[in-house]
Amino acid sequence: MKVELQHIHKKYGAYSALTDISFEVPEGTLLSLLGPSGCGKTTLLRIISGLETPDAGNVFLDGKDITNIGDRSKVGFVFQHYALFQHMRIFDNVAFGLQVKPAHIRPSKKEIEERVHEVLALVQLDNQSKKYPSQLSGGQQQRVALARVLAIQPRVLLLDEPFGALDANVRRSLRRWLRDLHERIQITTILVTHDQEEALEISDNVVLLNQGVLEQIGSPQQVYEQPSNHFVYEFLGQVNIFNPRFHNDHLVHYTPDGKESPIAHKGHFYVRPHDIEIVLLDSKKKKAQGVIIRTSFVAEKVLLQIRLDESSPFVARSSDKKSSKPDGQENLVEASIGLRQWRTYNYAVGDKVGLSFS
């Protein structure tokens, strides 16, 4: 089922939670609503689910305006904290949505049983159906919550930070599992998350929200490689921000190379750590040079912190706003290189290296 939002506005008092949000989720795709906390992503999900109504704008399911219709029987909602019925066995939890249907559309007992076992098998928990929720792990409970919603055969699935309460390893395996599941059952899915990695890994499309405003919508590759503005650039992964250096009131260099700095925002430009190449000092490709002041080993890659020389045509500042010192004071660049390259060149703290942006 296609989901379409048109000019959604929502205010809480004077605070604008959502401002003019419009986008479309094509049938059978998985879309992530991504943004920092307080950006309005959960409010948006609740509006689609019917838990809240927008102040203005419309929600369409398959072209039908359902903004003010209470009935959302085609929409399945999964909470971050599972909200399983603690006093019921897993089987009854999953059967609940079917058992409470009005008598004339309620499936027979046998059909309910079959359906429950079917969805429990889908989430690989059919052997746990006699247990109580408290006897399952967090990841299993979240899968039960998903099965419970799938049992009522929704045409749209809404997931509110479904893995937020789980630890990192379970999260990672569960999101791959969700991606596989989605490929198998092909339900239009909207997922709220604040985890960039999660959004990029499992979505067909990502919507970036910031302070109630839609910043960008696109495929994971699009939003990562062609960010439409500085918020998206800084929110999706580490990035180095370079400012041009002024010398005797004259701009020494604006950018090292127009092509290689996709965005020039008020004179800044952005380069991701993995787009920085470490080159020899006498290399022609060298754009700047500096001294390695720290190396950190992060499994498949190595992060190098490099302090730029005064002779470089620009100064760097960290994208991490909290720790950023005034421009030029720190002048640190973060570069990430593959483990193999690191082994070959064996860069160490104190080495002088050239930088190139690829």
Binding site: A83, F85, Q86, F96, V100, Q135, R148
Partner: protein, 305 residues
């Protein structure tokens, strides 16, 4: 100071300390026991002793006498009616307070407590003034041929007013601690209000609910002050058991009075036992042991199959 002397002094002061603790402990325990004996155990057991002082036959005779029997029946009816009212009100009020945010929510929460803090006699007088023959509402109601004051409806109404908060008071904290997540989920899964209440809420609050019902029942059965004002003491018509005890006593039939009073002891005993049972049912220890038992059962099933 030599080493041994040092040790001896330490030992000595430790001994003193131990003595001090023990003596304080003993004093506190003795005081508590004295209080219990003087204020509860001796008076309560003397009720039984005095009730049975003329032998078991006399005791049963007093209990089986028509006026006692009538007052027992009336008490049961009145307290049943008020327990039902208290339960319905309690469930509705707790549901509103926990699930909705509305203007006056806090105020409602405080007003619910009111009957507990108002003297029952005052409740009785309020009802007499309002529903009596010359009261504002009584005037209107008398015209329909129904009398409230000095008749059983008055007893039911005052009893309801006094027991009203008991269920709500136990339910509100219980439901607040459970939150509204599961109810919200149930709604999203398509359940209607009635289904949500009976399938999600009720199973989770049943012990708190029962607890409140027992408290309301105990309070309703023993209610005296308001009943004394609105009853008018029409024998075999408006005399509840507490009033009957009073009547016997003022007629110098102390054995009959104490015989009836033992019935209240019996009610208290049942209340305390059921309260204890509910506590055990509800305790975390029990829940954990249930969980473990459940786990063992599950593992047994999986190993056998």
């Amino acid at each position: 100071m030599s080493h041994t002397v040092k040790i001896r002094t330490i030992r000595h002061s430790l001994g003193l300390l131990a003595k001090k603790i023990i003596s304080n402990r003993t004093i506190l325990i003795v005081i508590s026991i004295c209080f219990l004996l003087l204020l509860l155990v001796i008076p309560l057991s003397s009720i039984v002793v005095l009730g049975l002082s003329k032998g078991l036959d006399t005791f049963l005779g007093h209990i089986n006498s028509p006026s006692t029997q009538f007052s027992i029946g009336l008490t049961v009816l009145v307290s049943l009616a008020s327990v039902i009212a208290s339960t319905l009100f309690g469930v509705f009020a707790a549901w509103c307070i926990v699930h909705f945010r509305f203007w006056g929510r806090r105020m409602l929460q405080s007003i619910i407590e009111l009957p507990i803090t108002i003297s029952p006699i005052i409740v009785g007088f309020m009802f007499t003034l309002l529903y009596g023959k010359y009261g504002y509402l009584g005037n209107i109601i008398e015209n329909t041929g129904i009398t409230i004051i000095f008749s059983w409806p008055g007893l039911v109404l005052t009893n309801m007013a006094i027991t009203l908060p008991y269920v709500a008071r136990t339910l509100i904290p219980a439901m607040e601690s459970l939150g509204a997540d599961q109810e919200r989920t149930a709604r999203l899964l398509g359940a209607n209000g009635v289904q949500i209440f009976f399938r999600i809420t009720l199973p989770r609050i049943k012990w708190a609910l029962l607890y409140g019902i027992i408290l309301a029942m105990a309070r309703g059965v023993g209610e005296y002050g308001a009943a004394a004002v609105v009853s008018g003491l029409v024998r075999n018509k408006t005399v509840t058991l507490p009033l009957q005890v009073d009547i016997y006593y003022s007629e110098y039939q102390s054995v009959a009075a104490f015989a009836c009073a033992t019935l209240f002891l019996f009610v208290s005993f049942i209340t305390i036992v059921s309260k204890k049972l509910i506590d055990i049912q509800n305790s975390p220890a029990k829940r954990i042991s249930k969980k473990i038992v459940g786990r063992i059962d599950e593992s047994r099933i999986t190993t056998y199959t």
